[in-house]
């Protein structure tokens, strides 16, 4: 619902919002420009009487003096029957330049408030401002939900590409955008009479004036009492009309001044409502608040990017929506699959499960979790496939599930299986799946198979789960869904460097080059070739399926697209099908593979110290991060191998990186050498320095086997203890990242 509230207005509004925002950006610099050209006397330095006196000396035909909130003073005068307007220096009363409001600014202003379409356009702009309020609020709520609460709003945002850019920009711009949109909506509502304007109490023209001989403007008491910085407007009496008066309007109120006695007549202070209105307008325009204008302008500058990335996200989400195949009705189904999905990824797995169950002769009903029926008359198994949103919340297609579950009437003997999808790197891995599992148990349903959690859409884990289910149900069930793109590219091995054979840990650095795909003319066009290699960075994954196997294995990339090659570091596992296959490759051999983004495992940018920890082949992406550290930010590598003479991976490269300071320091530990140490030992040995680094904000990235990662966590927990922190806390701040296999 929240997502729809954000997306639908966004889609409809995008184009005109970009117009509103871009014109707003242009207008936002006007107050600052005006301010920079204005002469602003110090408070108490000059009264309106003084100003009037100086101006009259230079402009005997003065009719009106106006001061903008930015401090510009404009004199309107008549000379020989011809009207004129000059910008003047209030301290001298001398003209600076003829006053000619910019036609460009006026045009932009009209574009901004009415799309150049008068009242219809003004109404449209008002509606758009209100839409913007809706988009800002729903967006803020969405982001808070995604990050796990309002307190987490400033934490690093996981993810990459459009969603990341969208969220990063929006969270800083949202306050400015909300202010602009709210005040804009208000102004529009007032304009069309939906809101009261705050009674603008105009003083009535005095019924009686002294009618005496006019005194010089500079001597008038009421004008002497007003500081020039409070002046808005002073209108001079009509020449030679003793019954006329000065009209004075200040930031505080307005009234009239007798031209003979200098008395203030009929003065009306601004009402509270009028003050409020005045401030709403100023908060929108930045008039007299040039710094606010610039901030609002900066915020508005993000709108075109937000619109573009927003549309991209919407499109991606739309195109990943999967239509279901044959679907049995609720009444007829013997098997029910309910899907909890945010971005439609889980549907791919559900569809595979449904198809394979159909093939095995089951009558399967598959639906979003929100469509949970009260009763499934013929069902014997209920599958729940669900992801988790944000900090353990329900994904959008499951938001109503737990509420609906209260009215659910399961038959005796209805068994259930929960399959959770998530990312192990997040603190609450598959939390929502766990909650649903508990809720179903509490409802009295029996487990057919215990809860299983799938990490990052692993096709292997899904297949293994399918095997277990197949056994339980006594039907063949070969699950092959792989969320990774079916489109693979061909890569040719160009180089391999072998290590570790002597210490029984054969590990190779494999370097592949992408092959030019020359299947058709279109792809052979020159500009197509550049696009041959999909974009990737060190830390992303290369998916490779060994021949005769559908499920891909993933290897962390040690190189970036800009290097022109794909570099992975692979340890040959005993009986490892895929690692064995890769190790059997000779230069010139070709493999099929694809890139999977892994944005959750990237060093933070900027000058944050980065602590890299790895063992064995886990050094791959870490070496890639160091290679890319051309800005020479502090990077420390802790790495564990077996023997420096045999499996010291990347030894020559690391030496070079130390020399050119891409790597600040290297700490190694070797388990089958004289020192007999593991990477944990190297970390402990450096405890004090590490603690200091963490205190000043360091980020830790760990890559390697599961056991090593557990050991490293333990060691860091004890290092963090004196700081009253732990790994879990760092993890929620995005400062402890793991890539574990």
């Amino acid at each position: 619902m929240l997502r729809k509230l954000h997306g639908l207005p966004g889609l409809v509004a995008a184009l005109l919002l970009v117009v509103l925002a871009t014109s707003g950006v242009v207008l936002s610099v006007v107050p600052a420009l005006e301010r920079s050209g204005a002469v602003v006397p110090a408070a108490g330095e000059l009264s309106v009487a003084g100003l009037a006196e100086r101006v009259i000396t230079n402009y005997p035909g003065t009719e009106q003096i106006a001061r903008s909130l930015s401090g510009e003073v404009v004199v309107y005068y008549s000379q020989d029957g011809q009207p004129g307007a000059d910008l003047v220096n209030p301290l001298t009363g001398e003209g600076i330049a003829p006053y000619q409001p910019s036609a460009f600014v006026r045009w932009v202003k009209n574009l901004h408030r009415s799309f150049l379409m008068d009242d219809v356009g003004r109404m449209l702009a008002g509606v758009w401002a209100a839409l913007m309020v809706l988009i800002c609020l729903s967006g803020a709520f969405l982001l808070a939900r995604r990050l796990g609460g309002w307190k987490a709003m400033l934490q690093p945002i996981p993810g990459s590409g459009s969603p990341r850019i969208h969220a990063e920009l929006a969270r800083f711009a949202v306050i400015g955008l909300l202010l602009s949109a709210l005040t804009g909506s208000y102004m529009s509502a007032v304009r069309f009479g939906l809101l009261p304007e705050g009674a603008s109490t105009e003083p009535t023209f005095p019924a009686e004036v002294s009618g005496g001989v006019p005194a010089p403007a500079g001597s008038l008491k009421a004008l002497k009492n007003v500081d020039v910085n409070e002046l808005r407007e002073l209108v001079f009496p009509f020449p030679d009309d003793p019954t006329d008066v000065y009209s004075l309007s200040t930031t505080q109120g307005s009234g009239f001044v007798d031209q003979a006695t200098g008395e203030l007549l009929q003065y009306q202070a601004r009402s509270t409502g009028s003050q409020f209105h005045h401030w709403m307008v100023r908060l929108h325009t930045g008039e007299g608040l040039w710094w606010l204008g610039l901030i609002l302008g900066l915020a508005a500058l993000t709108v075109p990017v937000l619109s573009f990335t927003g549309l991209q996200i919407w499109w991606q989400r739309r195109s990943s929506a999967i239509s279901l195949g044959e679907n049995a009705s609720i009444e007829a189904a013997d098997t029910v699959i309910l899907v909890g999905s945010e971005g439609n990824t889980t549907w791919g797995f559900a569809k595979d499960l449904q198809n394979k169950l159909n093939q095995a002769g089951k009558k399967v009903h598959c639906a979003p979790m929100n469509d949970l029926a009260v009763h499934y008359p013929k069902a014997s198994v209920l599958f729940i496939l669900t992801s988790t949103y944000g900090d353990g919340d329900a994904p959008s297609s499951a938001s109503q599930f737990l509420t609906r579950l209260e009215h659910f009437q399961p038959d005796d003997g209805l068994e259930f299986v929960v399959l959770g999808f998530g990312d192990q790197q997040f603190p609450k891995f598959c939390q929502y799946a766990l909650d649903v599992d508990t809720a179903l148990s509490n409802k009295g349903l029996q487990h057919m198979h215990p809860l299983t959690r799938i990490d990052r859409g692993s096709a292997t884990q899904f297949r293994e789960w399918g095997e277990a289910i197949s056994e339980r149900m006594g039907i063949p069930l070969v699950l092959t869904h792989n969320p990774a793109p079916a489109v693979t590219s061909e890569f040719e091995l160009v180089e391999r460097v072998d290590y570790g054979v002597a210490v029984n840990a054969p590990t190779s650095i494999l370097r592949f080059k992408p092959l030019k795909n020359s299947r058709n003319l279109w792809q052979r066009l020159p500009f197509q070739n550049r696009k041959q290699l999909p974009d990737f960075e060190a830390g992303d994954l290369l998916g490779v399926a060994p021949p005769g196997d559908e499920a891909a294995r993933f290897y962390s990339l040690a190189s970036s697209a800009s290097d022109g090659i794909l570099e992975i570091c692979v340890r040959k596992q005993t009986n490892g099908l895929c690692s064995g296959y890769l190790h059997s490759l000779k230069p010139g051999d070709r493999i099929a593979g694809f890139i999977q983004k892994n944005p959750g495992f990237r060093p933070a940018g900027g000058t944050t110290p980065i602590i890299l920890v790895g063992a064995g082949a886990g050094i791959g992406p870490l070496a890639g991060f160091i290679r890319k550290n051309t800005e020479r930010n502090p990077m420390y590598l802790y790495w564990g191998g077996r023997n420096p003479d045999s499996d010291f991976l990347y030894q020559p490269e690391l030496g070079r990186y130390l020399d050119d300071q891409r790597l600040t320091r290297l700490n190694t530990a070797f388990s089958r050498s004289a020192e007999n140490a593991y990477v944990q030992d190297a970390i402990v040995a450096d405890e004090t320095a590490l603690r200091h680094q963490i205190e000043i904000g360091a980020q830790i990235l760990v890559c390697g086997g599961r056991e090593m990662a557990a050991g490293v966590r333990q060691v860091f927990d004890s290092i963090l203890k004196p700081l009253h922190m732990d790994v879990e806390e760092l993890r929620t701040e995005g400062r402890y990242l793991e890539d574990v296999y």
Partner: protein
């Protein structure tokens, strides 16, 4: 006095056969290309001394800006009764405003003046942009304004 205002107040209601002594007058106000937003105009009658007598027409829909039509505002006291039913849209830069009204015969050749005040957002306010006596002789004679008004003419029928 009351009678004049009364007659003026009804003047917009097209033709009024009941007023045998009424004459149809068309006021045409051509604006310059002053290059700003739509102008607010006040057409009104004063006596020979410039004392406000009655409103002919107000161009501009937002009454909160009427105070910028300075002399008219002062004379009319911005009382709604003075301009009720006598308002229309503001006039775009370079365009003309044409208003046809029924005026009592007694107002013509009696020393009354037609005046026009003009104002534009973010630009100057012009008091008495046009001042012209309302006479049979003056009918059809174009005068120029000193503010946003390029030319002004009234035609007695």
């Amino acid at each position: 006095m009351k009678k004049i205002l009364f007659a003026l107040g009804l003047a917009t209601v097209m033709a009024l056969p009941a007023y045998a002594q009424a004459r149809e007058v068309t006021f045409t106000t051509q604006l310059k290309n002053y290059g700003g937003d739509g102008a607010y105009l006040a057409l009104y009658l004063t006596d020979a001394d410039g004392q406000y007598q009655g409103t002919l027409w107000i161009a501009g829909e937002k009454s909160k800006y009427y105070k910028h039509l300075r002399d008219w505002a002062r004379g009319s006291g911005l009382k709604q009764a003075e301009y009720d039913g006598l308002t229309g849209a503001s006039v775009t830069s370079g365009r003309a405003l044409k208003v046809t009204l029924e005026l009592e015969d007694a107002l013509i050749d009696s020393g009354y003046q037609v005046r026009v005040d003009t104002a534009v957002e973010d630009m100057r306010d012009n008091r008495a942009d046009v001042v012209v006596p309302l006479t049979t002789e003056g009918s059809g004679k174009t005068v120029s304004g000193r503010g946003y008004v390029q030319s002004f003419v009234y035609d007695l029928k």
